[in-house]
Amino acid sequence: MTISEAVVSDPGASAPGSETTPSKPKSFRKSLRRLESAFAVTPFVVFAFAGLGVPALAVIYQAFHGNTGGWTLSNMRLILSGSSNPTTHGIFLIGFENSIKLGLISALIPGVVGVFVAYAIQTSKSNLLRRLTSTGSGVLANFGGINLTFMFVATLGSAGVLTAWLHAVGISLSNVGFNISGFSGVVVVYMYFQLPLMVLVITPALGGLRQSWREAAENMGASSLRYWIHVGIPVLMPSILGGMLLLFGSAFAAYATAATLTLGLIALSPIQIGNFLNGNVIAGETHVGYAIAFGMLVILTVVMLMYSLVRKRASKWLR
């Protein structure tokens, strides 16, 4: 994925530990090496399986089981039902749709803005700014839930500070179509942790933009814009895409912030899962919640596949 990957040569050839007795056959050494490799990555694999694989399998299992035990497709049929269904009114499909929309918007806007902001910070002369933002982006990327909601209600709510300022200048938020409990509100609030997340992710990649490339481009008479179009952005593209995937996942899956901000006024899949598994009114229908979770897994897998396809093409430039 980076150019320096090319520097790492073939493992078998000159790794230090391979000065074994030349009398041993090569295939034996090879299988020994393979065993050693398998051994070395076992902890990681076990960890990953226990922490990711097992819960995912549990979700899949529960999604396809009912309260009466035994495999069933009824949960899936329920969540995939359309708006003509009298029980569900297609609300789960709407939830998926809204969540995807939210994920996309929340990946694109903060994603693009994040690249600019990260670049602006990296090229500034102030060490203080850089230190503040490196820690700040880590903290803010994890800031969410009810805390974020309360802070934004104090800012943009009906009695909010910014609302009052805008009013004084003659701008009424509701007239511009902004509603803090609605879709626009969620997008604005989400940006508060999405933007730092993008800055966090893209900053190391910016460090890979060598000064020498810039100078080379200038030497050949390229303007700043051409530098970016032909050198900067292609080099950054894999990382930008990676960052946007991260943003999509983060927005798609965000639960506490959306729940406290909207109180159910927008149909979103994570909130629906929470309602079934943790609410106060629907008892004993947890399997529907798991079915929604399964739906989210499917959507995210599809997005991941698309991402890896697009990224392969973007990385071609680097090879």
């Binding site: 990957e5 493992p11 990681f44 802070m151 910014l162 989210m296």
Partner: protein, 287 residues
């Protein structure tokens, strides 16, 4: 370089230590536009981040009757359960950081050295915690993990190691790719160092920035993660703040949010300041 005649304050900024290259057609003007542009970006981003903080702080310092009051803040440390939640969060943070380091560092080093093709696999696996949302993970855990595991808060630590994997791996990967790992290792081994010594005294110091960054991110994650902790019914600091908020008046609610945010920020700055090589890093510039 003389400032432009328009007198726009942005243009008085000095150019960096770059001379106009010999063979270029010498167009310094675009540098100035870039400066101005960057200022706008930082201003807007700064405003977006700082205004809500200001609003939160302003509201939290208001008393019930509207005047200035620190009551909201003073009632937090003495509130029931605060110290217990703080202790729990710290315990979880330390365990998470230790386990994450022990798991990821040797694995990453080994993979970088001996199994570059496996890096592709690790890339994918380390992105999986993003593909599988935390809420899905935790409901899976609740539904399936054995009782002895769910009775321990360190199950959360285990899950946090998973959650932080994308950031930790990305950090370590970048750090390991930036140094010439092969040469370093060969040099150290040929000088007679065994693997432990090599790792401890040669490799680790060279990836210290990456390691520090990974640690800091893990810390931020543990002190900010709410969804999994609350659904698993453990009262960590974020969960405590949420519970405390719901039962308090509006000013205390926002005050608690501010404490959570700024407290974590200060903690991270402290951790980062401990790193001596930070200043060395900052002198590197981007193109």
């Amino acid at each position: 370089m003389a400032p432009l005649a328009s007198g726009d304050p942005f243009e008085v900024v000095q150019m960096e230590d770059e001379t106009v290259p010999e063979f270029s057609n010498g167009k310094p003007k675009r540098r100035y536009h870039f400066r101005w542009w960057r200022f706008i970006v930082l201003l807007l981003a700064g405003a977006y981040i700082l205004i809500p903080l200001y609003a939160g702080l302003k509201f939290s310092f208001q008393g019930v009757t509207g005047g200035f009051s620190t009551l909201a803040y003073t009632s937090i440390p003495s509130a029931p359960g605060f110290t217990a939640a703080l202790a729990l969060s710290f315990k979880l943070a330390i365990v998470t950081m230790v386990v994450s380091t022990i798991l990821m560092v040797p694995t990453s080093i080994y993979v970088h050295l001996r199994m570059p093709r496996f890096r592709r696999v690790m890339d994918v696996v380390s992105v999986l915690p993003i593909v599988i949302p935390p809420i899905v993970l935790i409901v899976g855990v609740i539904g399936d993990y054995p009782l002895w595991a769910r009775s321990s808060p360190y199950l959360l630590s285990f899950m946090y190691v998973i959650l932080s994997m994308p950031f930790v791996y990305r950090s370590l990967d970048a750090g390991l790719s930036a140094i010439d790992l092969k040469t370093l290792t060969e040099a150290s081994r040929s000088l007679g160092g065994n693997w432990i010594k090599t790792m401890w005294q040669v490799i680790l110091p060279n990836i210290r920035p990456a390691l520090l960054s990974a640690t800091v991110l893990t810390l931020a994650l543990v002190f900010g993660e709410y969804t999994m902790a609350s659904l698993d019914l453990w009262t960590t600091i974020p969960v405590w703040i949420a519970q405390f908020q719901v039962s308090s008046d509006g000013h205390v609610q926002v005050a608690a949010s501010m404490v959570g945010l700024i407290g974590t920020w200060i903690l991270l700055i402290l951790v980062v300041s401990l790193d001596r090589s930070q200043s060395r890093r900052n002198r590197r510039r981007t193109a």
